[in-house]
Structure formats: structure tokens, C-alpha cells
């Protein structure tokens, strides 16, 4: 009897455990959904990490996490046989039969057999599935409520009816900016030298903007921050670029070539003079370069020293090729330069004649010096190696050095491309939102600003330069006597990077000049005059005169 009772209680325990797990799973699911809803609703401000992934991910993770945690917690609930019996008794008409039988069995009560039999008989009439159902209908209430809250959290901010046309326009512009930023981020990511962190930040910002869950103010703040950061970076790069001075390469090349040509000519002359005075009968050929009759080489061309007749093939690598290379470096067209280098490498692979080798060596030496002078040392040093290799007739080493020069060019080109993309991103970030001026305020806000008049056509009017000046004079960020850091009257950014709207309505600071543009003040006065005129206490005969006075003011 006791064994049978034990078996029944064991089955009952499993049922209760499952029921607890199911119930807590519902609770966990609901908690997860509520948490997801809260994360989605407030994510922009407090839990940015949560909503930077998609709402769907947040929801799934929240719901699954809640369920899992709840199920695991349910496994930790201590279920002794007595508690299990009491649970069933609470939900049935057993009236403590089961728990009393368990108690009697454990205490060797004289009536334990009768109590156990009575409990088992009564248990047969109990529908356990009904007494302890795994899923109660009421369990659904919480998840349903949580789902509704979640839907509201997701859908409410996007509801069209809740937004003014201006705001919709702003949001569309923000989305577009987000999309553009993500494209730029993808392009940056393709570059081998890309700053992955920056690309990631851009992509993240793009996603935030695209999600449409960012208020225009917050979007503007974030874009401003990103823009500032990119501009600072680009300034540094611009300084570095300025030092590089790639555009000077062709000119430096011409100068270097001229200098090296003259140096070569003088060295040749010195060698010839030394040979003549020694009378050793050595003959130095100066066929081409000294053929001008003046005793000087043609401008920019190298005098050719005496060599034996060429053993190798006379493969032409003309000076124009190197000159073109210098021009391409000057234009920062590393792609075209690389094509030219590939061709040059191919020709060197055919083992050119010593004469050609000598010419090429001299031209490339000039290019190396030009690059060095333009602060492009990384590429220049590879060309120096090329020259060294050519001088020692080591074609393979020359080819390798050309390869290295090509890679260095690629690297520099990639960096420049990235810089261009970053500038593009900065341009996107600093792009004006529709209806929003460069200070982050809407025209409507500007018009409504206290103490500046309520002009119907007031505020900043794009394209009107004098108005821009007035605007900047009045509303642009600036340092005041008390505020040393430039600040603006409204839409101040607090230290958390959020907009803090402050309407200023006060007298100007002592010593500060307060001026309100005429076009802002005039409509107020006109309205006041019209009201005054319409009042009966202005005599009819005088009204016209008053009218004329104000018209004259205009």
C-alpha cells in the first residue's frame, strides 16, 4: 500500500514540476517580452546596446532568455512529497487525505494502512490533469499583455498620425542619411587598410538612423559628433597629405632628372679629361648626350657612358614611361601607376640591354629622389632598391623591388581612398536636415524663440545672406562672459550628448549687445498697431494718420 502510494506521489511530483515549469515559462516569456518592450521603447536613451540590434532580435532574445531562466528556476524549486500532496489537495476535494496518509506512513501511525487505502481510493476519483493543469487559460493573459505592450513600443513611435509633416520629412532625411552612411561604411570596409572600428561606428550610426527610432534631435547630436570626429581625423590626414605633397612629384622628377643629368655629364667630362691627361688612349663615348655640340647633354637627358655593344636585347623602357609614372603619382592615380609598373616589370623580365638598363636606372633614380622630396619615402625606398638592382644587373631583384613599390603605392592609394570616403561620410553627417539649420534648431523653433520677436517671416531664411548673418549674430553658438565655452540659447547639448532645450527669456548680459533684426520686430509692431487702430478709442479721423505713420516706418 505504501509503495503504491509512493508511486502515485512520484507521478504527482513530476506533474507538479512540469506544471511549475510551464507556469514559470509563461511568466518568464512575459517578463522577457516586457523587458524587450522596455528596451525598445527606452533603448535610445538608456539601453542603447539593446536596440542597436533589431527589435526582433531583442524580442526573441528577451522572450527566450526569460523562458529559459524561468524553466531553470523552476527546476530549483524544492518539491517534497508532502508539498506535492498539499498542492493536489488544494486543487481537489481530497481534504488532506493524501498528506495525512503520507504523514501517517512516516510516523508509523496505527491507522496508516487505512489512511493510505482511503487516500489511494480517493485519488482514483481525482482528475489530476484537471486539478493540476499544465496550462491555465489565465496564463495567457500576461504574454498577451506583454505582446501588446511590445507592439505598442515598436509601432507607436512610427505611427504616421503622431508626427507632423515636418517631423516626417526630418525622419525621412535621417533615414536617408543613415542609408548613405551605411553605404560609405561598406565601401570603407572593402579597403584593405580600412579603419574597421570607424567603419563599424559609421555602420552602427547608419543603422540607428535607418531604424527611425531616433528623435531628430538625438540624430542631429549623433551626426554632429560623428561629423566632428571625422573632420578632426581628416584634418590630421590633410596635414599629413600636405607634407606628402604628391602633386609635386612630376615637378620634383623633372628637377631631379635635370640635376642628375648635369651631374652625370660633369662626371663624364671629368672622366674624359682624366683619360686624356693620362694619355692612356682610353676612349669615352658620348654619342648621344654630348652631340649637341655645346659639350653639354640635352636638357633632362643622361649622357651615356661607354659600354660594350649590348649583349642583351635592346628592350625599350623610354623615359616617357617613367615620366608618365611620375605624373600618375602626382595625380594619386595609383591604379594606373600600377599598370605602368606591371608593364615595366614585364620588360625588365626580358633582360634589357645594359644601355637600356643604365637609362632606366637613371630615370628611376630621379623618380626615387622626386618621391623622396615629396615625402613619399615609403615608395621612394623601393625605387632606390630597383636602381640598385639595375646597377648590379640583377633583373629579378629589380622586379621584386618594383613589386614592393607597387604594393606601397596600393597602400597609399587605399589610405587616400579611405580618407576620401571619410570625408564623404563627414559630408553626409554634416548635411543639413530639412527644416533644420546648422545649429540644430528648426526654423519653427527659431521663430518661436522668446525675446526675439514673433516674425511671420522671421527665423533663418536659407539663401538670404544678411539674414544668415543676423541669425548667426543672435543665435549662433558663442562664448559669453559667464559661459566661456561656446553655447547657444536653445538646444544646448548636455554632457551626455543629449539636447537640452532651454528657452532664454532674460535681459542681455551686462556689456553684451542685444539686437533683434528689424524683420523680426516689425510684424509685432504692425500687429500691435493694427490692434490699436481697430480699437474704438482711436478717433476715426486720426486712424488714417496713425496708419500712415506705421506705413512710413516700413
Amino acid at each position: 500500500m505504501a509503495r503504491e502510494l509512493g508511486a502515485q506521489i512520484h507521478r504527482l511530483r513530476k506533474r507538479v514540476r512540469t506544471a511549475i515549469a510551464v507556469k514559470w515559462a509563461f511568466v518568464g516569456l512575459s517578463a522577457g517580452l516586457f523587458a524587450a518592450a522596455a528596451g525598445i521603447a527606452f533603448g535610445g536613451r538608456w539601453w542603447a546596446l539593446l536596440w542597436e540590434v533589431s527589435p526582433a532580435t531583442v524580442t526573441i532574445v528577451g522572450a527566450a532568455g526569460g523562458m529559459l531562466a524561468a524553466i531553470l528556476a523552476s527546476l530549483l524549486v524544492r518539491l517534497d512529497e508532502f508539498a506535492v500532496c498539499r498542492t493536489l489537495e488544494r486543487h481537489s476535494d481530497l481534504k488532506d487525505r493524501l498528506s495525512s496518509a503520507v504523514w501517517a506512513a512516516n510516523t508509523a501511525h496505527p491507522q496508516r494502512t487505512i489512511l493510505a487505502r482511503d487516500a489511494l481510493e480517493s485519488l482514483q476519483s481525482v482528475d489530476i490533469a484537471r486539478a493540476i493543469p499544465l496550462v491555465h487559460q489565465r496564463y495567457w493573459r500576461l504574454p498577451v499583455a506583454a505582446t501588446l505592450v511590445l507592439i505598442v513600443a515598436i509601432a507607436l513611435p512610427s505611427l504616421s498620425v503622431l508626427h507632423s509633416p515636418l517631423k516626417k520629412q526630418e525622419q525621412a532625411a535621417i533615414r536617408q542619411q543613415g542609408s548613405q552612411l551605411r553605404k560609405v561604411a561598406a565601401r570603407i570596409n572593402k579597403e584593405p587598410q580600412a579603419d574597421r572600428q570607424l567603419a563599424e561606428r559609421l555602420d552602427k550610426l547608419g543603422r540607428q538612423l535607418q531604424s527611425g527610432r531616433l528623435s531628430p534631435t538625438d540624430a542631429h547630436v549623433k551626426l554632429n559628433k560623428m561629423s566632428d570626429s571625422l573632420l578632426k581625423k581628416s584634418e590630421k590626414l590633410a596635414q599629413a597629405n600636405a607634407a606628402i605633397g604628391a602633386s609635386m612629384v612630376p615637378q620634383r622628377y623633372a628637377e631631379a632628372k635635370e640635376y642628375l643629368a648635369q651631374e652625370a655629364a660633369s662626371r663624364l667630362r671629368a672622366e674624359r679629361a682624366a683619360a686624356t691627361s693620362a694619355g692612356d688612349g682610353r676612349h669615352v663615348k658620348d654619342e648621344a648626350t654630348l652631340s649637341s655640340g655645346s659639350g653639354m647633354p640635352a636638357k633632362g637627358s643622361f649622357p651615356r657612358a661607354t659600354h660594350g655593344s649590348g649583349n642583351g636585347q635592346d628592350i625599350e623602357i623610354p623615359s616617357e614611361m617613367v615620366e608618365r609614372l611620375a605624373q600618375l603619382y602626382g595625380m594619386k592615380d595609383f591604379q594606373e601607376a600600377n599598370k605602368l609598373l606591371a608593364e615595366m616589370r614585364r620588360r625588365l623580365g626580358l633582360k634589357p640591354s645594359p644601355a637600356t638598363q643604365e637609362d632606366v636606372s637613371q630615370y628611376l633614380n630621379a623618380l626615387a629622389k622626386a618621391l623622396e622630396n615629396a615625402n613619399m619615402q615609403q615608395i621612394a625606398q623601393h625605387y632606390k632598391k630597383v636602381v640598385e638592382a639595375l646597377n648590379s644587373m640583377d633583373w629579378r631583384a629589380a622586379q621584386k623591388a618594383l613589386d614592393a613599390a607597387q604594393r606601397a603605392g596600393d597602400k597609399l592609394g587605399s589610405l587616400m581612398e579611405i580618407q576620401a570616403l571619410e570625408m564623404e561620410a563627414a559630408a553626409i553627417c554634416s548635411g543639413q536636415l530639412p527644416g533644420r539649420n546648422e545649429y540644430g534648431s528648426t526654423d519653427r523653433e527659431a521663430r518661436g524663440r522668446k525675446g526675439t520677436g514673433n516674425a511671420r517671416d522671421g527665423g533663418r531664411i536659407p539663401g538670404a545672406s544678411h539674414l544668415d548673418k543676423d541669425w548667426a549674430k543672435l543665435y549662433a553658438p558663442r562664448a559669453t562672459q559667464t559661459q566661456k565655452v561656446p553655447a547657444r540659447a536653445s538646444s544646448l547639448i548636455n554632457k551626455n550628448g543629449q539636447m537640452k532645450r532651454v528657452e532664454v527669456e532674460s535681459a542681455p548680459e551686462p556689456g553684451a549687445r542685444a539686437s533683434v533684426p528689424y524683420y523680426e520686430v516689425y510684424p509685432q509692431y504692425r500687429d500691435a498697431a493694427e490692434k490699436a487702430l481697430s480699437r474704438e478709442d482711436v478717433p476715426l479721423s486720426e486712424r488714417k494718420r496713425v496708419q500712415e505713420y506705421f506705413d512710413a516706418l516700413r
Binding site: 514559470w24 498539499r86 488532506d96 493540476i132
Partner: protein, 331 residues
């Protein structure tokens, strides 16, 4: 005889008694069951109700249904203790004059103490020993009372003038305090029908005194599991204002809580309910259902309770709520 058979017999006897009394007394089922519970456990009952509700009739019918001796004591202010317990009298015997004990009405199996609160406390106290110890001491000699012994006292809660409220010690001796409710219109119709037309129904004895004693033994064999016992004790403790279990209302309105006799009465009463329900174990529901009858007369409420018309039943209900076990699994 197995416990199951005895339990079955218990239920049959109880039903027979209930049915027999019901032939005379219309309605009042709870009061009848309470009185029978006292009979089946060896306790005593105090019946409280307005005049004319059938308290005396109920007790008399119960006595008639049990074939054992019945005494009725009409308590009046001039009733003396000796009138209840009996006294030694001088009697002429063939051997000469001698003192002989003349048993009082208390020497019966079922005693009806009618309008008990009309007697002086001195006389009321004459029942103390009898009720608790089932014996009386007269002239220095202790005399046991017959078994079964059941005191069923009645009192009228309305007419308070010229009455002597029962002292706490006396009240505590009553196992249950049964409130006799006013009959419903239908019940009154039935009463009229039975009492004003033809012959009034008579009660026949359906059970012997021995059988009652057996019933009392059977009741005590019913199991009271630890958790039910703890619950019962928590209820009793919750009626004490100084107890940690006491709810705020008890602390505010109760001067003194239920005595250990209250716990005993509650347990026995709950056991009777379990038996009647066909169980061999006491359930928490039995305890809850019996708590008012067993505890209401044991609580001494303070002036504030009286002023705010807080009844003992309300306090018991609060104590029951406060004593609920905290053993619920989250299902």
C-alpha cells in the same frame, strides 16, 4: 471490529439521532449537529438563542433519543449549588438515623441546564467540577457521575437584567457554544404545522448510553496529521493578542485568547466532522468549520471591540485567515 466498521456505525448512529431529533425540531441542523458532536466526544454545549427558538426542545429531544437518564435544571437566582449537585440528608433507616446522600439532578447522563445565566455564579460554579471531571464532591466525598455525561446549557442573550454572565472558567468548560438561529419562514411554517395540528411527533430512543461511549472512543481514533494539528494550534495562538501570529485586529480587540481547552475542543469537533464526512483523517477544512463553535466563547474581547460591535466570530475568522499555512507551491 475494525475502525472502518466503527466509523460506519458512528455515522449511522449519528444520522439516526439527527433524524430522530429532526422529527421534532425543525431546521437548526447546525445546532443539532453541534449538540450531537458534544455527545459523541464527551463535551458539553452551551446553546445561546432568543426565547422560543427551541433550545430546550432540542435538548429534550436529544435526551429522549438517547435511552439514558435525563435531568433538567431550571436555573433561577435562588437556585443553590446543593440543588444541582445533591446533598446529604438525614434519613430514618432501620439502623437508626443516618446521613444519606441525596443525588442532585446533575447525576444524570444528559443534563439540561436551562437559562444557566439566571443562577448566581456560586450555583453556576457547582457545575464546574461535574463538567470537567465528571464527578462531584459533596460533604468531602467525591462521587463520580454516570457515563455518558453531557451538559447542555441554554442562555438567553437578550434579557440581560437579573442575569449573571457565565464566568470565563465556566465558559471554558463548554466544548462548543452553539448559536440557535431564528428559523426561516418555511421552517416556521413547518413548526406551525407540527405543533398546531393533530398530535405532536414524539421522539423515540434510538441509541443507548453504551453506544455513545463507543462513539466517543471512535472519534479519538481519527488521525490528526501534524500539518493539520499545527494549523489548528496556529488558529488558537492567533487568538492571543500577544502572539506573533495574531493579526492586527486580534491585537486591537482581544483581551484574552482561547485556552488549551479550546484547542482540544476544536480538534475533537473537527474529528467528528471528519468521521461524518467518511474520512479517517482530520482536514484543515474541518478545523476551519469547527473553529467558530469551539472558540467563540473562549475569547474575551475588550471594550473597543464591544464599542465597535466586533463579535467573537469575526475575531475567529480573522485568526483563521492569519493562521493559513504558507506552503503553497507556485502551481
Amino acid at each position: 471490529m475494525s475502525i472502518e466498521q466503527r466509523a460506519e456505525e458512528f455515522r449511522e448512529t449519528f444520522s439516526a439521532l439527527r433524524e430522530e431529533i429532526g422529527r421534532v425540531v425543525v431546521g437548526q441542523t447546525e445546532t443539532i449537529d453541534g449538540a450531537l458532536s458534544c455527545l459523541a466526544t464527551g463535551g458539553h454545549a452551551l446553546l445561546e438563542g432568543a426565547p422560543g427558538l427551541g433550545k430546550t426542545l432540542l435538548v429534550r429531544s436529544l435526551a429522549e433519543a438517547v435511552s439514558c437518564s435525563f435531568s433538567r435544571i431550571q436555573f433561577t437566582p435562588d437556585l443553590m449549588p446543593a440543588d444541582v449537585t445533591g446533598t446529604n440528608i438525614v434519613a430514618d433507616t432501620p439502623a437508626g438515623r443516618e446521613f444519606r446522600f441525596q443525588p442532585g439532578p446533575v447525576f444524570g447522563n444528559i443534563i439540561l441546564a436551562d437559562e444557566i445565566n439566571r443562577a448566581t455564579p456560586k450555583t453556576q460554579s457547582a457545575l464546574l467540577e461535574a463538567m470537567q471531571e465528571q464527578a462531584v464532591t459533596v460533604g468531602g466525598e467525591r462521587r463520580p457521575l454516570p457515563s455518558p455525561f453531557l451538559v447542555l446549557a441554554t442562555q438567553n442573550p437578550i434579557e440581560m437584567e437579573g442575569t449573571y454572565p457565565l464566568p470565563e472558567a465556566q465558559l471554558d468548560r463548554f466544548m462548543l457554544k452553539l448559536l440557535v438561529p431564528f428559523p426561516t419562514q418555511a421552517q416556521m411554517g413547518a413548526i406551525l404545522e407540527r405543533t398546531t395540528t393533530g398530535e405532536e411527533p414524539a421522539v423515540k430512543p434510538v441509541v443507548t448510553g453504551e453506544r455513545i461511549v463507543q462513539m466517543q472512543e471512535t472519534v479519538r481514533e481519527i488521525a490528526l496529521a501534524d500539518h493539520v494539528r499545527d494549523y489548528l494550534l496556529r488558529i488558537v495562538m492567533a487568538t492571543h493578542p500577544e502572539s506573533e501570529l495574531a493579526p492586527a485586529e486580534v491585537r486591537h480587540y482581544v483581551r484574552y485568547g482561547a485556552s488549551p481547552r479550546g484547542a482540544q475542543a476544536l480538534a475533537l469537533s473537527a474529528k467528528v466532522r471528519a468521521l461524518l464526512d467518511g474520512r479517517f483523517n482530520v482536514a484543515t477544512q474541518d478545523v476551519e468549520e469547527s473553529s467558530a463553535q469551539a472558540l467563540r466563547h473562549r475569547l474575551i474581547l475588550n471594550f473597543e471591540a464591544e464599542a465597535e460591535q466586533i463579535s467573537a466570530d469575526m475575531i475567529v475568522e480573522m485568526a483563521v485567515r492569519a493562521a493559513q499555512p504558507d506552503e503553497k507551491l507556485p502551481v
